[in-house]
Amino acid sequence: MIPASFDYVAPTTVEEALAALAQYGDEAKIIAGGQSLLPVLRMRLNAPEWVIDLGRIDSLKGVRDEGASILIGAMTRHCDVATDPLVAEHATLVARATATVADEQVRHRGTFGGALAHADPAGDLGAPALALDAEFVIAGPAGERVVPGSEFFQGLFETAVSEDELLVGVRIPKHTGWTAHYEKFVRVAHQWPICAVGATLKVSGGVIEGAAIGLTNMGATPLRAAGVEAALVGQQATEEVVRNAAALAADGAEPPSDLNGDADYRRHLVMVLTRRAITKALGG
């Protein structure tokens, strides 16, 4: 599995990286952790002339406290996100989901930004980011712009980041005190999810005050189960409420059919997994 030959640059600042993108245009590909890009190159599904490595741009690494939100740098590796105290406290769902990504080796190379920019519908991080109202910080020739999740994910492997731009970070409003669970359904441990549900909840005095539910691999992009959330908020956290809310999980979803399951199976599965994710987030 030998990729076609390419040239390689490793800028140390975002500005240099943008300049390289401007110079090489559509002949260039960004490499972050390489965990999705390298297989593509090795199978010769893509043959860029230039590969621009973001690995030396230190400003893109790590998690920052911004007061009302946290900012996860695009080049923060999965293993660092999964163990970061700020993420654990303010975006628990992201920590939980990240810990399920692939295996140790992949988590030590793959990055938060790389995974989101890749926008694989079976990727585990899109749905949690969407559910937590993340904002995506994109740098380009004209400076920085910020887009919400609903605009960031545009389709199968397609995002709002254009060819001359970079995803530099993801800003997540603090969900302090929200409990969370990411329920991932796989056949073997290292597999991409057949379907997964991220649930995070704020409960006070037995009443659900906030609910955010994200669905993975239930369509071309990560989805938010708005109907489920609406059926939960303001309700007592009872088994019946959860069950009835979860039954709405497949509404509006257009899941794929593949070797691991047909669409109708996934539509059934997502209801069961949503119920379980909410129940576990509630401490059950």
Binding site: M1, A4, R44, F185, R187, V188, L259, Y265, L269
Partner: protein, 797 residues
């Protein structure tokens, strides 16, 4: 056999948990794999492979590739003469078998996706790969036949020139063979007064998925042509090169250096090997080809892929009266080296541990436009074992008794050994009662059945199932005479040599070429025990036809029971040769010599000499008896009289999540009887690995083609191999019924786990949901399949 008789005691090597001496280099990778070999001036090959399952080649334009940087030449089939050789089928199972010619490079038609159509030779592997992308092949697509169901209809032909997809029909009938009654009569009478169970099971196609992809290097410079290949079969390969290329065998040296697994998948004479051999000869330079993982999954031979139509007849209380098997086996596009023979091996195993009064086996091998199939761990026996062990559970359910009880009612009793089965084999030893009793106890069988009842009563969303597999298998391939009677084109003996160095170290040479099994350790233990030398002083050499000139290599759980026995005999000859020399040097009568504590001693005295000391004395040769040659080295060839029949009772508990269809292993226990054990640690490794491979067939692995003949599960994203994270800790133990057919009393263990575990797992899954009216889940038991079965059963209810 004086030397054997004179052996009063063993050192403590046999039965010792020695860590494998080969592991340090294998695990760290600091060894010579074929792909590590780089020779001066070496060229690299890349293959251009067909993306179509069936197409006519209408043109090949190599000009752009030839102009690509670093390219030496680009060739297609037309550029070669017959010295390229062909891939041979060594086991035509019937005289009228339809065997399409298998040129290593497709000539004017491709017959499966992945078939080689052109070859690039370049100065680097990268340059070869780049140029391969530039070869333009024009294809005119032809209709492809992919599935067995379609192929047997003969509407679309994989090889139109053959006129049919049906390659051979192989039949065994107990009434004709005189081993039993007429199966159709047994079924007819059970229909009127008894039980008839009819089932169709699918053995999905599997990919051996060895860790080290295949790699070949050929150096044509020098007097001999030297080939290194990541193969299981250096000896057979050397023969095949000579037989099909016209190069004399004496001019060919084949080396299998350390080989990273095979599972049968490297028991093949491959097109790639033939091409590398031909290219090196043609270009006069060393040539290397290493396949990519994608090429490996696509084109290295696959395994299984059968449809089994089964009819079992029994009395109302569950005594089996007959079994009829109608089996279709998918050969793929060509009949591989033993491709047709794999399902035939199963013919002897459908009756398993049971006493069946009537049996008929019909096997139709079928050609399709898919990758060829051949041996994969167990080869024919897992398929047969699956069928009968599933059927025994179905029979138990029908009769309404515990599946262990139905098995006991039908199995060969301990006191009936040796027992000649309806398939004509004589099982030398075994004790199904003992293995089952031990497994039951380890499992906590009654407690788990109680828990199952409770979950059923509570309508628990997670149901519990218990699966049983009381397997046996025939291994230790193979008695040459039997192979001859089956029209197999070779023998089944094994050869060993024991050499002594002047300093008293021992070199053991075996024709059983290991590829990860641990021969070096186990064989060292045997020789250390036999000759009384330290384990560390024994070196095992193998896998090079210049060192181990004779052999039949490693497969079919044969190395220890056939190769190990040859080794025992060679070692005993060393002792015999040493005896008169020891007597002479110790100035004693030969009749007073005895071999004790690893030394030849003079009976009743403390005078003696070790084999090491004798070896030094023989090297100097200053004082040998008259007429005795200055050499203790010995060799032996052992051809087994019979196969070897390990057995065991495997018990598996599976939890089935009825809401999602997800299945989860709760407990797995096995008690195997593999006779005497040389190294329990190696045995545990073989059993654990084997179990996982069998479990993987039950739950995960499936090589899927689409209707056009494209391999959909062509990468590890879709072909689900389990890892340690997907398995639980198995509990394994043994009972011991020594084999009577070899000195060590050992039985094969290389395939046991794989053969046994698949039906145990599926039986457990089905057992969990049987109360819903479900009596089968097709393999692999995916969550979706399980859920659909439950869902439609509940809807129907």
């Amino acid at each position: 056999m004086t030397a054997v008789d004179a052996r009063p005691e063993q050192t403590n090597e046999i039965g010792r948990d020695r860590r494998r001496k080969e592991d340090a280099r294998l695990i760290t990778g600091r060894t010579r794999w074929t792909d590590n070999i780089n020779l001066p001036g070496m060229l690299h090959l890349a293959m251009v492979r067909s993306p179509f399952a069936h197409a006519r080649i209408t043109g090949i334009d190599t000009s752009a590739a030839e102009d690509s940087e670093g390219v030496v030449t680009v060739l297609a089939a037309k550029d070669f003469d017959e010295s390229l050789g062909v891939c041979i089928n060594a086991w035509p199972i019937t005289p009228d078998q339809k065997t399409p010619a298998h040129p290593p490079i497709a000539i004017d038609r491709v017959t499966f996706a992945g078939e080689i159509v052109a070859i690039v030779a370049a100065r680097s592997a990268a340059a070869a790969r780049d140029a391969a992308e530039l070869v333009e092949v024009d294809y005119e697509e032809l209709p492809a036949v992919v599935s067995l169901e379609e192929a047997v209809k003969d509407e679309v032909l994989a090889h139109p020139d053959l006129g049919t997809n049906k390659s051979a029909l192989w039949v065994f009938d107990s009434a004709q063979a005189g081993t039993g009654g007429n199966v159709d009569e047994a079924i007819a009478s059970a229909k009127s007064d008894g039980i008839v169970i009819e089932r169709t099971y699918r053995q999905q196609r599997l990919i051996p998925a060895f860790m080290e992809p295949r790699s070949v290097v050929c150096d044509p410079t020098g007097e001999q042509i030297t080939v290194w290949s990541a193969t299981q079969i250096p000896h057979i390969l050397r023969f095949a090169f000579a037989a099909t290329t016209g190069v004399p065998e004496s001019k060919i040296r084949v080396i299998a250096p350390d080989v990273g697994g095979g599972f049968g998948g490297k028991l093949q004479q491959t097109p790639e090997e033939m091409i590398v051999f031909a290219m090196a000869r043609r270009l006069g330079k060393p040539v290397k080809y290493t396949e990519t993982r994608s090429e490996s999954l696509l084109s290295a031979h696959h395994g299984r892929d059968q449809i089994q139509k089964l009819t079992l007849s029994a009395t109302k209380d569950g005594q089996v009266t007959g079994l009829k098997v109608e089996l279709d086996a998918n050969l793929g596009a060509y009949v591989a080296i033993v491709g047709g023979g794999v399902p035939v091996l199963g013919a002897f195993m459908f009756n398993a541990i049971y006493k069946f009064p009537a049996y008929q086996f019909n096997c139709q091998t079928v050609l399709t436009n898919t990758t060829w199939t051949d041996a994969y761990r167990g080869a024919g026996r897992p398929e047969a074992t699956y069928a009968i062990e599933r059927l025994m559970d179905e029979l138990a359910a029908e009769v309404g008794v515990d599946p262990l009880e139905i098995r006991e009612k039908n199995w060969i009793k301990h006191e009936e050994f040796p027992f000649t089965t309806i398939a004509g084999l004589t099982y030398d030893s075994g004790n199904y009662e003992a293995a089952t009793a031990k497994a039951k106890e380890m499992f906590g069988y009654d407690a788990l059945r109680a828990e199952q009842a409770e979950r059923r009563a509570n309508n628990d969303p997670v149901q519990l199932g218990i699966g049983i597999s009381t397997f046996t298998e025939m291994c230790g391939l193979a008695p040459s005479r039997v192979l001859g009677s089956l029209d197999y084109g070779a023998g089944g003996w094994e050869h060993a040599q024991v050499r002594l160095t002047p300093t008293g170290k021992v070199e053991v040479i075996t024709g059983a070429s290991a590829h990860g099994q641990g021969h070096e350790t186990a064989f060292s233990q045997i020789v250390a025990d036999r000759l009384g030398v330290p384990f560390e002083d024994v070196e095992v050499l193998h896998g090079d036809t210049q060192i181990a000139a004779k052999g039949y290599d490693t497969y079919g759980s044969r190395s220890l029971v056939v190769g190990g026995e040859a080794l025992v005999r060679a070692a005993d000859k060393v002792l015999e040769k040493a005896k008169p020399i020891a007597a002479h040097l110790l100035e004693a009568s030969v009749d007073d010599m005895e071999f004790t504590g690893g030394r030849w001693t003079v009976r009743g005295t403390d005078q003696g000499m070790s084999i090491g000391e004798l070896s030094t004395a023989v090297f100097a040769a200053h004082n040998l008896p008259d007429g005795v040659e200055a050499n203790l080295d010995s060799e032996a060839t052992f051809d087994p009289e019979n196969f070897n029949f390990p057995h065991g009772t495997h018990l598996c508990a599976m939890e089935v999540d009825t809401e999602t269809g997800q299945v989860k292993m709760r407990k797995y226990v096995c008690c195997d009887d593999i006779g005497n054990i040389i190294n329990p640690l190696i045995v545990a490794g073989q059993v654990h690995g084997g179990l996982v491979q069998g479990i993987a067939q039950a739950l995960w692995e499936d090589a899927v083609y689409d209707d056009a003949g494209t391999l959909v599960s062509g990468s590890f994203v879709d072909y689900l191999l389990p890892t340690a994270a997907d398995t639980i800790s198995f509990e394994i133990d043994h009972t011991t019924s020594p084999a009577t057919t070899n000195t060590l009393g050992t039985k094969g263990v290389g395939e046991a786990g794989t053969i046994a575990s698949t039906p145990a797992v599926v039986n457990a899954v089905v057992d969990a949901i049987r109360p819903l009216g479900i009596n089968d889940i097709e393999m692999p038991c995916t969550p979706e399949r399980v859920w659909r079965a439950i869902n439609s059963a509940q809807k129907g209810a």
